[in-house]
C-alpha cells in the first residue's frame, strides 16, 4: 500500500473504496419498491378527476405506498372495480389475470368483499371492496397474506378508489420474502379499516381463504420489464 500518495492516486483509491456494487438481494428490494411506486403513480394518473395520495400514516397501514383515486361520483354504469382498474394497463393486467374469488366477511359494521386474487412467484394480489353498514367512508387498513406454509407475505403496495358513494375498492400487491415462492391456499387477514384520510382506524377481523394457481410473472409494462431485466 502506498502511504506517500499523489492526489490522483488518492482520488483513484477513494473511487475504488466507494465503488460498492448493489447486492442482488438489496437490488431486488429496491426494484420492487420502485416498481410499486410506478404502478401506483400510473394508476393515479389514469384516474379520472382529482387524484391525491394518502397521507403517510394511512399509507403505512397498507404498506409502502398507496395511491388513492378519488373519483367523486360514480359514472353511469361503472362498477367500483371498473373504476378501480380504470385504464391503467398494469392494473388491467392484474385484473384480467386474477381469479374470481367472490367471498365476503362482515365485522365491526364493515363488510369486506374479496373480489379477485392472483399470484405469481413473487407476489400475491388481492382486489377487495370495503363497505360500511353506516354508510361511513371507509377503506382498507391493515392486512396480510399468509401462504400454505405459514409464510407471511407482507403488503407492499395498494391502489384504491377512495370512498365512492359508500364503497371503496382497493388492489393490493403483497410481496413474498426474497427467494420464497408463495404457495396456496392463501389466507388473507384484514385486521382494520380506516377512513380514507387514515385519521380513524377501526379494528376488526375479516379472514378469507382462497387458492389461485401461480401465473407467469406479472410484467405487463415497459417499466416492469425494465426492472425485471436489470435484476440480477
Amino acid at each position: 500500500m502506498v502511504h506517500d500518495t499523489t492526489g490522483s492516486d488518492l482520488e483513484a483509491a477513494l473511487e475504488r473504496s466507494f465503488s460498492l456494487p448493489v447486492p442482488s438481494h438489496s437490488r431486488d428490494v429496491i426494484d420492487r419498491r420502485v416498481e410499486a411506486a410506478i404502478v401506483c403513480d400510473t394508476a393515479r394518473l389514469a384516474s379520472r378527476g382529482r387524484g391525491f395520495r394518502f397521507p403517510r400514516p394511512a399509507r403505512l397501514l397498507v404498506g409502502v405506498a398507496a395511491a388513492v383515486l378519488l373519483t367523486g361520483t360514480v359514472a353511469g354504469g361503472a362498477t367500483i372495480f371498473g373504476r378501480l382498474v380504470g385504464n391503467a394497463p398494469l392494473m388491467v393486467n392484474v385484473w384480467d389475470r386474477a381469479t374470481e374469488i367472490n367471498q365476503s366477511s362482515t365485522d365491526a359494521g364493515y363488510t369486506i368483499h374479496l373480489e379477485r386474487a392472483a399470484a405469481d412467484r413473487e407476489h400475491v394480489w388481492v382486489i377487495m371492496s370495503v363497505t360500511a353498514a353506516s354508510g361511513a367512508e371507509a377503506t382498507m387498513g391493515r392486512m396480510r397474506v399468509i401462504d400454505a406454509n405459514g409464510v407471511v407475505i407482507a403488503p407492499g403496495t395498494c391502489a384504491g378508489t377512495g370512498d365512492v358513494q359508500g364503497v371503496s375498492a382497493v388492489l393490493c400487491g403483497a410481496n413474498a420474502p426474497a427467494g420464497i415462492t408463495p404457495q396456496g391456499p392463501f389466507t388473507l387477514e384484514v385486521t382494520s379499516v380506516t377512513t380514507a384520510a387514515g385519521e380513524t382506524e377501526t379494528p376488526g377481523h375479516w379472514t378469507f381463504t382462497f387458492d389461485v394457481a401461480l401465473t407467469a410473472p406479472f410484467s405487463p409494462g415497459p417499466a416492469n420489464a425494465t426492472a425485471a431485466q436489470a435484476a440480477p
Binding site: 500500500m1 502511504h3 506517500d4 500518495t5 492526489g7 488518492l10 482520488e11 483509491a13 477513494l14 473511487e15 475504488r16 473504496s17 466507494f18 465503488s19 460498492l20 456494487p21 448493489v22 447486492p23 438489496s26 437490488r27 428490494v29 429496491i30 419498491r33 420502485v34 411506486a37 410506478i38 403513480d41 400510473t42 394518473l45 389514469a46 384516474s47 379520472r48 378527476g49 387524484g51 395520495r53 409502502v64 405506498a65 380504470g86 385504464n87 391503467a88 394497463p89 409494462g221 415497459p222 417499466a223 416492469n224 425494465t226 426492472a227 436489470a230
Partner: protein, 193 residues
C-alpha cells in the same frame, strides 16, 4: 393510456439531456421513470453506503429516494444542475432524516473488504480489500461535512459544480472543501494513520 395531467405547454426537448427528457416524460407517464431509475440506482446506493448506511439501510433509503423522486417529479426543473444532483439531494435528505430517527450502525469496515472485481488474483484481492478498509477508516475520521462532500464526489460521481447546490455551498467553497478533505486524508496517509 388515458392521462389526466398534461403539461400546459409542449416542451421542446430535442436538445436536452436524456435525464431531463425522461424526467419530463415521467410527469405524465410514470413508466418513463424506470430508465431514470436504472441509470441512477447504483450511484444512489453507493452514496448511501459511503455515508455509512449498512446494506439494509442503504436499500431502504435508496428505495425511499426513488419513491420521493417519482412523487415529486413535477418539481424537478430540467436545465438546472441536473437530475443526478437532484436525486442525490433527495438521498442525502433521506439519510439525514433517518439519522435523526435512529442512529445508523457504523459501517462495518470488514463488510466491504471482500468486494472485489472478478478475475482478481487472491493477492490483489487481499491488497484491495486492505486498501478499502484503510481508506474508509481514514474517511470515517473526517468531519461530517467533509465525509459528505467526498461521498458525493467519489460515490455519487458529482463534480464540484454539481455538489455545490446539494450541500448548499458555492462552487468555490465546495472546491475548497474537497481540496481540504483530500489534503487531510493525504496527510493522514503520510502519517500512516
Amino acid at each position: 393510456m388515458e392521462l389526466t395531467q398534461r403539461l400546459a405547454e409542449p416542451l421542446d426537448l430535442a436538445d436536452t439531456p436524456l435525464d431531463d427528457r425522461l424526467a419530463a416524460r415521467a410527469r405524465n407517464d410514470p413508466e418513463a421513470f424506470a430508465p431514470l431509475y436504472e441509470r441512477h440506482v447504483e450511484r444512489v446506493y453507493r452514496y448511501l453506503r459511503a455515508r455509512g448506511a449498512n446494506e439494509d439501510d442503504a436499500a431502504e433509503l435508496a428505495a425511499l429516494t426513488f419513491e420521493r423522486a417519482l412523487s415529486n417529479i413535477d418539481r424537478y426543473r430540467p436545465g438546472g444542475s441536473g437530475f443526478g444532483p437532484w436525486l442525490l439531494r433527495i438521498a442525502r435528505n433521506a439519510f439525514i432524516d433517518a439519522g435523526r430517527r435512529q442512529s445508523h450502525r457504523s459501517l462495518d469496515l470488514d463488510e466491504t473488504a471482500g468486494l472485489t472485481a472478478p478475475g482478481q488474483s487472491p493477492e490483489d484481492m487481499a491488497i484491495e480489500a486492505e486498501e478499502r478498509r484503510w481508506i474508509r477508516s481514514l474517511v470515517a475520521r473526517l468531519p461530517e461535512v467533509q465525509r459528505d462532500a467526498l461521498a458525493l464526489r467519489f460515490a455519487g460521481d458529482l463534480s464540484s459544480r454539481e455538489i455545490a447546490p446539494v450541500i448548499g455551498k458555492s462552487e468555490a467553497a465546495t472546491k475548497k472543501l474537497l481540496t481540504r478533505s483530500l489534503a487531510t486524508l493525504k496527510e493522514a496517509m503520510r502519517n500512516g494513520a
